[in-house]
Subunit: 155 residues, 2 copies
């Protein structure tokens, strides 16, 4: 399969990756969640070419994950802001970061700490069933296939 | 910055992506969590060349995310299994999938449904503070920088 066909797969992971599954794109998102909004600031932090950054921002705009908002009228200056759809990706970024904090931190420890402002504690996110509140791992899950693709998804 | 230098960044997201931040790698992980363990099965499902698949599996073995386990002695046959470090990536895959289910599903609906076996309900994972139990969004978080990099990480 060619990667450009990946969004045709009956798989929500594949379809999501077809939009954000690119290293620079995910780092742009990381920066968005840290409050970065302006092209030059993204470029300075990521150290990528304007061409690469423009391409990734375009994909995020096209995917409805970012929107351009004018912060100055004349001359017109625009910045990139997360949409609700974009903010919904926060758990992905947080869990990528937490995993790195746990398994890849150097001797200096985690670069940043996320504090849950309202309770003041360090955020330690776990995958939890919102129905019963139990922490959930891969072995606690049963997969049900959509009848449309029965027999085509599970090994 | 060149991508190969990305793991030098004081950022756990970047370091994590340096290992798994590749579309095929993330789809290999998706399949691991669905129970796929054998090379030919990965290749058949992903439709990638043996070369690409070998490279991605090698990265996951080197990163301690997968381990090779013999399932037959003579002739020796090995399969790929998630380590504890690999299983710890489950929340990333689940949230990628949930986001795709919500925003990218076609008219047939989500391809698969994850059922929390012990309570029988559809898994609807939210980012939650394990201290106070509140659901957490990007605006509920305060970032504290590691003094080692103060002023170098936040915009």
């Amino acid at each position: 399969m060619r990667w450009q066909d990946i969004d045709q797969q009956p798989c929500s992971v594949a379809r999501t990756l077809a939009i954000i599954g690119d290293n620079w794109t995910l780092l742009v998102l990381r920066d968005c969640f840290l409050g970065v909004r302006r092209f030059d600031q993204f470029q300075q932090r990521l150290g990528v070419t304007r061409h690469v950054l423009s391409d990734r921002l375009r994909k995020l705009l096209d995917g409805g994950i970012l929107e351009k908002v004018a912060y100055q009228q004349r001359p017109l200056r625009e910045e990139y802001r997360l949409t609700d759809k974009g903010r919904a990706l926060y758990p992905v970024i947080v869990h990528l970061a937490q995993w790195g904090d746990k398994y890849l931190a150097d001797t200096h420890g985690a670069p940043i700490t996320r504090i849950h402002a309202s309770c003041g504690e360090k955020l330690d996110a776990v995958l939890q069933c919102s129905h019963c509140g139990e922490t959930v791992g891969p072995r606690d899950i049963r997969i049900e296939e959509n009848p449309r693709w029965r027999g085509k998804i599970l090994p």
